[in-house]
């Protein structure tokens, strides 16, 4: 990369086209936020789809939602919240130059992220076993609509719910996997001692991304699991 050679004068991380480190940090921060903005719209298309059908097929969706395991869902929410804490601690550690604390928290985040995916995997497996995966083998007969004990959910509408369930949680999981990739890289960098109180933008930006994915889940959880829970 001939053109973007680091001008290794005073700060090895300062790229040539920035005048000063602050400008570079601000650019990275703005870039990350703007990227998260596009992510909002990316999931926004799904939220719009969700809204349209939930409005149209509330009862059927309530029935379908009720088959999801709310304990696993809530556990996963808690797992993600904990990971958000470890992430923010990691950022704090990086900013205050505590290398071991940084590495510890990055590793904890990785563990929690993996745990989330594991639990998600269990849920997916259950869906396969119950034939709740949209497609030819989909079955959702004789499931009663919550609050209307004499009425059965329309399997077709429930199928749309599960389709959206898989797309939404699947895309979220994909974001988690990407996040884990980022955090592995951050851990390696932290291990090598690359981050200092002066230079820790990658940790901060990785953290922003992770929190964002967390926020998406904070919405997915009630939207998917808690549509019509009450007895």
């Amino acid at each position: 990369m001939p053109d973007s050679q680091l001008t290794a004068a005073h700060n090895p991380a300062l790229l040539h086209h920035f005048a000063e480190p602050q400008q570079q940090r601000d650019a990275a921060s703005l870039g990350t936020w703007v990227f998260l903005g596009t992510e909002i719209m990316f999931f926004g298309g799904l939220f719009c789809t969700y809204l349209v059908y939930r409005r149209g097929y509330f009862g059927d969706w309530g029935a379908a939602s009720k088959t999801l395991d709310v304990t696993l869902g809530a556990t996963n929410t808690a797992v993600l919240i904990c990971s958000s804490l470890t992430v923010v601690l990691a950022v704090w550690a990086a900013q205050t130059g505590r290398r071991r604390l940084l590495i510890g928290n990055l590793l904890a985040t990785l563990v929690l992220g993996t745990a989330f995916l594991g639990i998600k995997g269990i849920e997916y497996k259950e869906k396969f076993e119950k034939h709740h995966v949209p497609g030819a083998s989909f079955q959702f007969n004789n499931v009663r609509i919550p609050g209307h004990p004499d009425q059965y959910a329309n399997p077709s509408h429930a199928e749309i719910f599960f389709a959206l369930y898989f797309v939404m949680t699947g895309l979220h999981a994909l974001h988690m996997i990407v996040g884990i990739g980022i955090f592995i890289w951050l851990t390696v960098m932290a291990w090598k001692g690359r981050f200092t109180p002066e230079y820790n933008t990658p940790v901060e930006m990785g953290g922003l991304y992770w929190h964002f994915v967390d926020i998406i889940w904070i919405y997915l959880f009630p939207l998917l699991y808690l549509i019509d829970r009450h007895p």
Partner: protein
Amino acid sequence: MSAHPSSSLKLYFGIWITLLACTGLTVWAASLDLGRFNAAVALTIATFKAILVALFFMHLKGASEKLSKLVVVASLFFLLILLALSMSDYATRTWT
């Protein structure tokens, strides 16, 4: 945005506890029959949690630049356009 005072540690743990509590709260609230308010309650709690994460964990609160806030607000605004104008069709249709 260099060294934070260690008081921010306390803040982080406080937010963390609140978030966990809210998760419990939303599960519990879902078990009540609030009619059409179930959705409203669930979304309000979710939004509250999201705001906590954004303000404190993502440091939107103390952000040196207003710009990050503007980006978030703008994105949400356009999301709102998507939802609201789509609904202007669905809510006024005579079918489904």
